[in-house]
């Protein structure tokens, strides 16, 4: 019982001296080993948000639609007609580097449980992925294996569980080589009056454990995810859990059925920090306590000590509080689905977590000690956000603009990701009206006639150049993606992926980014209803430490009436092309974060494109009305790669429709074709007059730039040809590129 608490032991638990002093004060005595373990996971960055919390408070979290903001397993918004949607994004970055397949698979599993814990049936998953470059001289082969493993893991879990993976994004940069990012977003549907919360209540009510048995897997996953990577990390493979999507599917069906019995009071999944987190948080949220005896916990292996059981992150487990006397109704449901269910404890009237093992107390901690007393750091951020990129770029002149376009559409970032998303079942549940490869994904809600559009966006380059403006651009783009398919953006979730917050220049990135996000989310009326923070995304090899680009990822949801979707691909020849928002502008500095700078010039400098949020909002209002009036045959927002890439992408369909475009601009050709100024959407229409009228009402430009035509894409400026290309050729190159990178 009396394990000596040595400095080494504290260090292994990543508990600092001052944190340990707080523990001593809160307990009034030395902690047991089990208690130390409990504190270490509850106070880990992953669970406590100790470095980010004071800044996260700056984010807007409310709107009339928000039913549940941050602090629960997922955010919930009201979509009308008695229904709500629950959604959240979560990262599984560290595990996915150590064991790509299981790391990604359990990432999907974890976020799905967060959704159905709230009573919501998951109906869509999207994922934002970042990998090191596939042709990296030293790590290319490894990066390829990580990508293959991650994609197969996501497919394995989502496909078997039966949730469609309907979209996402996948970007490559060397900074992610030792630190890939796997951010998974999930969304579910729930009836307004069937929402469940992770709250215990009613002293004497039984605490029931359901789902998979507990093993030693994942002990200390949360603390692992809260440190930077070293060579040693790879030895932590046993801390990556193994997922069982079939078990999860049974758990979903059983939980939803059990919830319908009316016998369940509160329920929480056992995710990071497993039994510890669920017992402590459920008690603490309900202002009561939970007392459990570990001898009742279903165990997969023998010889587990209380420490292991409390810290295990075995997957596919849930903890619920039922109404006393109605246990049997709950057990019957779990028996039907062939799942373990056992009463492991009871709700108590003290705000305390009490853990016994065969009757003997092994941990007894007041809940506030774990939650309210958790350390909160205002880490120094009085430095310039970290960047080494210069403000001025190289002198350059394109030799061949058509060849530049080919290189861009075959670049690993802009090429077709079909290879990836074709491995995901993106149609199961038959709600997907717009799937992967579109500006935003759309799933219909069969019950209401409403559809939900979703988009995930991040841009490490922009945020590296300017975390504040970069993050605003992400919010703007995410909302633009939704608007481009006709949906009104209503709420957001965020995944903050950054380096080590103990470095002031990294902390400055975090603070700038959060403040930019707060501004933009407030402006676009998309409150943040929850999310995830993943810090310490750095890799140390020898003396050098490489931090990832600051990579906040936004997941925004929008609402629209259910109807046939407007895709991005041109459908017919001889339609007018309107560039809503106009040609935009650019200069040398603002060109440095573009895909052209990256792939053609292999460089990064300057600042991200300039954003006028007010103009952006009006462009979005215009496109939504254009879609609502069925005026657009296709609509596609301009983002990575600018106008030329967007026009090429509009031709990437079996129709092989191109365009002949004549611009009128003073910009140099490289800028005109490839700059990435926001607030622009290309629309093909048979009624350009009405489209322009709507734009005029919103006070935004709507430039008639040309017409669609069969087979060829031609772009001129003032009647001088800039580039011309066969749509079919571009299409083939674009489609085949990713596989050729993977086979190289």
């Amino acid at each position: 019982m009396s394990t000596a608490i040595t400095p080494e032991l504290l260090q292994r638990h990543r508990i600092t001296d001052s944190e340990y002093q707080v523990i001593l004060k809160e307990l009034g005595r030395q902690p047991t080993l089990t208690e130390l373990g409990i504190f270490s996971v509850m106070w880990s960055e992953h669970c406590s948000y100790k470095s980010s919390k004071i800044h996260l408070k700056k984010l807007p979290t409310e709107s009339p639609r928000v039913v549940q903001g941050p602090g629960e397993n997922a955010g919930i918004i009201d979509i009308g007609q008695g229904y709500s949607i629950a959604f959240k994004i979560e990262s599984h970055n560290h595990p996915s580097f150590i064991e790509p397949f299981q790391g990604a698979a359990t990432g999907v599993g974890g976020i799905l449980r967060d959704i159905f814990t709230m009573g919501a049936r998951p109906i869509a998953v999207l994922d934002a992925l970042r990998f090191g470059s596939l042709d990296h001289p030293r790590h290319g082969a490894r990066n390829q294996r990580i990508l293959q493993g991650v994609v197969a893991g996501i497919a394995h879990y989502g496909n078997c569980f039966g949730v469609p993976t309907v979209g996402g994004e996948c970007v490559f940069e060397d900074v992610y080589s030792g630190n890939p990012l796997v951010n998974v977003f999930a969304l579910g549907i729930v009836k307004q009056d069937e929402i469940f919360y992770a709250k215990a209540a009613g002293a004497g009510n039984p605490v029931i454990y359901v789902g998979a048995k507990t093993g030693r897997d994942g002990v200390h996953g949360a603390t692992m995810a809260s440190g930077e990577f070293t060579k040693e990390s790879e030895k932590q493979r046993p801390t990556v859990q193994v997922g069982d999507p079939f078990m999860e599917k049974l758990l979903l069906e059983a939980c939803i059925e059990a919830m319908r019995t009316g016998a369940i009071i509160g329920i929480q999944d056992m995710g990071a920090a497993g039994l510890t987190c669920s017992t402590c948080e459920m008690g603490s949220r309900g202002n009561v306590g939970v007392e459990i005896d570990l001898m009742h916990v279903p165990q997969r292996e023998s010889g587990m000590i209380p420490y292991d059981i409390m810290l295990s992150e075995s997957q596919e487990r849930m903890l619920l509080v039922a109404e006393k006397g109605r246990e049997e109704e709950v057990f019957a449901v779990f028996r039907k689905w062939g799942l373990d269910a056992a009463t492991v404890g009871v709700v108590i009237n003290e705000n305390t977590l009490r853990v016994r093992n065969h009757g003997e107390i092994v941990a007894e901690i007041p809940n506030p000690a774990l939650t309210d007393a958790a350390p909160l750091y205002d880490r120094p951020h009085n430095a310039k956000p970290f960047r080494t990129a210069p403000m001025q770029g190289p002198k350059f002149a394109s030799q061949d603009l058509a060849s530049d376009l080919r290189r861009l559409v075959t670049s690993v970032d802009l090429c077709s990701k079909r290879y990836i998303w074709q491995q995901y079942d993106h149609m199961v549940r038959t709600n997907t009206t717009l799937g992967p490869g579109a500006d935003a994904a759309i799933v219909r809600i069969k019950e209401t006639g409403t559809s939900v559009a979703m988009s995930l966006d991040g841009n490490g380059r922009y945020c590296y150049l300017d975390p504040r403006e970069g993050t605003k651009l992400i919010v703007a783009e995410c909302c633009r993606n939704l608007s481009t398919v006709g949906a009104l953006p209503v709420a957001a979730t965020n995944n903050l992926n950054f380096g080590n917050p103990e470095r002031p220049e990294i902390m400055a990135q975090i603070v700038e980014s959060i403040e930019g996000m707060a501004d933009a989310c407030r402006f676009f009326e998309t409150p943040i209803t929850g999310g995830n923070v993943s810090l310490y995304n750095e890799t140390r090899t020898g003396d050098t430490t490489v931090a990832i680009y600051p990579t906040p990822v936004l997941g925004i949801v929008g609402l629209m009436p259910t109807k046939a979707p407007v895709g991005l691909a041109f459908r017919n020849a001889d339609r007018d092309l309107v560039l809503l928002g106009g040609l935009g502008t650019c200069d040398d500095t603002r060109f440095g974060g573009t895909q052209y700078a990256k792939h053609i010039l292999q460089d990064l400098w300057g600042l991200p494109p300039a954003l006028d949020m007010d103009y952006e909002k009006r462009v979005q209002a215009a496109i939504r009305q254009i879609i609502a009036e069925d005026l657009a045959e296709s609509a596609h927002d301009l983002s990575d790669g600018g106008l030329a890439v967007a026009l090429a992408e509009c031709g990437f369909s079996p129709n092989r429709i191109g365009a002949v475009v004549n611009l009128d601009s003073d910009l140099r050709p490289e800028f005109l074709l490839f700059h990435e100024a926001p607030s622009r959407i290309v629309v093909s229409t048979a009624n350009a007059a009405r489209v322009q009228e709507i734009a005029a009402q919103q006070g935004v430009e709507a430039t008639l730039i040309g017409r669609t035509q069969p087979d060829r894409l031609e772009i001129h400026n003032r009647n001088q040809e800039l580039l011309a290309s066969s749509v079919d050729e571009l299409n083939r190159l674009w489609e085949g590129a990713l596989e050729s990178y993977l086979q190289a």
Binding site: G162, P245, K249, Q423, A564
Partner: protein, 225 residues
């Protein structure tokens, strides 16, 4: 016409089939639990897609031992209409209701994509409302949909006009481009593509409806006769 949709632990297209039948086809449908032998007087059985019992051993290998499959075998032997879609097709071959087997896709990866099929025969209760040679666009979503059988069986399927659907562009390496087959009595159909995912314009195709409508027509014919 009452359709019964079987639910195994791990079925995940059960609801899609139910919705397709009850909403897009406009026929009553109910779920049949794997643990039961009671088919509750349904007129036709749908074995939906998914991962029955997790499919950890071999797709459909555990499902064939379930109580409901015993009842379905009797139902089929008595001439009842049974359609197995995706995992349902795998279960039908494992159960011996259809010949051959479905193995790992040639490319070794799961594929989810709309594919074009050729309707090869209208001489089944599942295709009577179509026309021979008709091209249907119906999605697939499987990792193990490569149809294999010995040459004799394949020849037999061809001569007996039991190859019901063929892929225009073979996505998974299936022998002779086979996407769907029926039994000798022609009342049991297995197909890898999902008609349940192609029964509403919102899903991009309604070509799957021909299968369900044919079943209704054939059942109507059987009762009026």
């Amino acid at each position: 016409m009452k359709f019964g949709v079987v639910v195994f632990p791990g079925s995940n297209c059960d609801h899609d089939c139910w919705y397709s039948v009850s909403h897009d086809l406009g026929q009553p449908a109910e779920f049949l639990w794997h643990d039961s032998t009671n088919l509750s007087n349904v007129d036709a059985i749908v074995i939906p897609g998914g991962f029955s019992y997790g499919d950890y051993l071999r797709c459909g290998a555990i499902a064939k031992f379930s109580p409901i499959m015993g009842a379905i075998k009797k139902f089929a032997a008595a001439g009842g209409l049974v359609i197995g879609i995706c995992n349902g097709f795998q279960i039908l071959t494992e159960s011996g209701l259809l010949p051959g087997a479905l193995v790992r896709n040639q490319g070794l990866r799961f594929i989810c994509a709309p594919v074009d099929l050729r309707l090869e025969t209208t001489n089944t209760p599942f295709t009577s409302q179509g026309s021979k040679g008709q091209i249907l666009s119906i999605p697939i979503a499987h990792g193990e949909g490569c149809y294999v059988a010995d040459e004799r069986t394949l020849d037999e399927l061809e001569t007996e006009d039991r190859v019901v659907f063929r892929y225009l562009k073979n996505p998974n390496g299936s022998a002779r481009d086979i996407a769907g087959i029926c039994n000798a009595q022609r009342n049991v159909l297995g197909m890898m593509p999902h008609p349940d995912r192609a029964s509403s314009p919102l899903m991009g195709s309604t070509d799957g409806l021909v299968v369900l409508q044919s079943m209704v027509a054939s059942l109507a014919g059987a009762t009026t006769r």
